[in-house]
Amino acid sequence: MIVVRHTLVIDEPVERAGHLWTDFVRHEIARDDFAADEWLEADGLHGVMGAGDVHFETVSVARCKVTLTVRIDLPPSDPRTGPEVEAAYRRAVDHLDRFHDFVAAGVG
């Protein structure tokens, strides 16, 4: 099993991070250019998590660490695995960057 992981720290307490993430998912799905991927899938009216996981961890009272992981179901010997790992990592970085901007903008 291959797992791609990316982490960033946001200036919000861990108690609020889960709610902010839910709001972020709703916000992403509501976008006109929304495209389903590992983390965000349109399931009727609700956004659900796909093969990825999000994990929140306390850094301090006012800050928390957000870790996004996705499982890649390709065997290591497959020539497509390397490029897919790179692409999944880039998508993870993009997702978390957007989440960071979302939190910083105070949309939630």
Partner: protein
Amino acid sequence: MEENVNAAQGDNAEVRRGIAGVVRAGGDATVRQAMTVVTTARGGATVQQAASMAVVSGGDTSIKMAGAMCVPTLGDVSIEQGGAQWVVSAGDVNIDKGGCGVAVAPSVRVDRGGVGAALAWRVDVGEGGRVLFGPLAAAAFGLALGVGFGIVTVATAGYAATKVVKRLPRIPFIS
């Protein structure tokens, strides 16, 4: 050069700022700012700002700002700002700001580093981590195998040649 460092059963061994051939510890082995050929420990092994050809341990192995060629261990392996050519571990392998040619373990986690070929049930690629897959991994595996075999062959041949030359005292240019 210290030829060998032996510690009794259950005792720890430490080599600090020196060169040693074989370090054997009944407990933990620590090599700091030193070079050793082989480091073996029944417990854990720590190689810090040092180099060792082989680090064999029955516990956890930590390689910090250090290098090793072959690291077979029964515990976890942690490589921080260091490198190893071969890591074969019964526990997890964690690489942070380091590199490894081939890692064979149940789980391999890479942050800010690279692994040529990871043979593991779980390969975790984190920030700045790079693991080769597919044909590139096969090439890295072959390269590591070739280089390792070459180094062992050269070392063995050198040792054998030294022994042979020592048995020829009449050759004038050998003192």
